[in-house]
């Protein structure tokens, strides 16, 4: 997509102005290989999303996408200047806990919490595909990520509205 250079987005680092993908990349952390974004209904609601907090606390910049078209565009871009472009509301962003100690701790937590993950699977049944122990949450007990393959929360919402309109 040659026009990608011209795209402008709201961002956690640029409160007042829009930012380009090139500017975002220039501010990326050394260990960061992904351009991250978060879609939602409005700027203020995205900024309050429980999934955003840890990224902010850890100093990562996230593009804020209040318009459904923004999400549509970035989803189809998927890569820019050799950087992956991903939504932090999906299950395939892994910027936290990639060192061995963190991985070992995560494994132990997973074992410890097996009774609870089994309980949620049994209790919620078809409402969810998977239960996992998160390393992305700060204050909230639960969050629902979506699969990298398939609909996002925003898309599911748009879809439901269309179904109701028909």
């Amino acid at each position: 997509m040659r026009l990608a250079k011209l795209l402008r987005f709201h961002s956690t680092d640029e409160e007042e102005e829009f930012t380009s993908l090139d500017d975002y990349i220039s501010r990326m952390k050394d260990d960061q290989d992904t351009i991250m974004y978060l879609p939602g209904d409005s700027l203020s609601s995205i900024k309050k999303s429980p999934i955003l907090k840890k990224y902010l606390n850890s100093g990562y910049e996230v593009l804020l996408l209040p318009d459904p078209m923004d999400e549509f565009t970035l989803q189809h871009l998927s890569e820019y200047e050799k950087k992956k472009v991903k939504s932090i509301a999906k299950d395939d962003v892994n910027v936290f806990g990639n060192d061995d100690i963190a991985k070992e701790k995560q494994k132990k937590l997973k074992e410890m919490y097996k009774p609870l993950t089994d309980f949620f699977k049994k209790h919620l049944g078809k409402k969810i595909e998977k239960v996992s122990i998160s390393n992305k949450l700060v204050d909230e007990p639960l969050f629902i990520l979506t699969s990298q393959y398939g609909y996002s929360a925003q898309m599911e919402k748009v879809n439901k509205h269309q179904a109701m309109a028909n």
Partner: protein, 114 residues
């Protein structure tokens, strides 16, 4: 079509820790009121994660019960009518009745003219 959802549990959260202990103690057979809280938490997560929930009452009914707990009232206490002692009616009521009596014949007269 619906999104494929992955439920993320926060292992550091006090409620999640308490829920793990409870599930272990009860072998996953939670009481009805605790299951209601679990569902409430799930629906809250749905909304917080940008989804819609089908029934607003799935959220509001358990929340209403929680508010009772906040006010130290029993969760299932039914509503009861308050008995109100009414004052004895005073004189002016009689005058109104006389006015109504005057209205009625007029309607009958109109019918006759047609």
């Amino acid at each position: 079509m619906l999104a494929k959802k992955q439920l993320e549990l926060n292992p550091s959260h006090p409620t999640i820790k308490a829920l793990l202990e409870l599930v272990k103690e009860t072998d996953g057979e939670l009481s009805a009121d605790k299951l209601e809280y679990v569902d409430l938490m799930f629906n809250m997560a749905m909304l917080n994660s940008g989804f819609l929930i089908d029934e607003p009452s799935d959220l509001t009914t358990p929340l209403e019960k929680l508010i009772r707990v906040g006010f130290q009232i029993d969760r299932d206490q039914p509503c009861e009518d308050i008995e109100i002692e009414l004052d004895e009616p005073e004189q002016p009521a009689e005058e109104e009745e006389v006015d109504m009596g005057d209205d009625e014949p007029e309607i009958i007269n109109l019918g006759d003219e047609l």
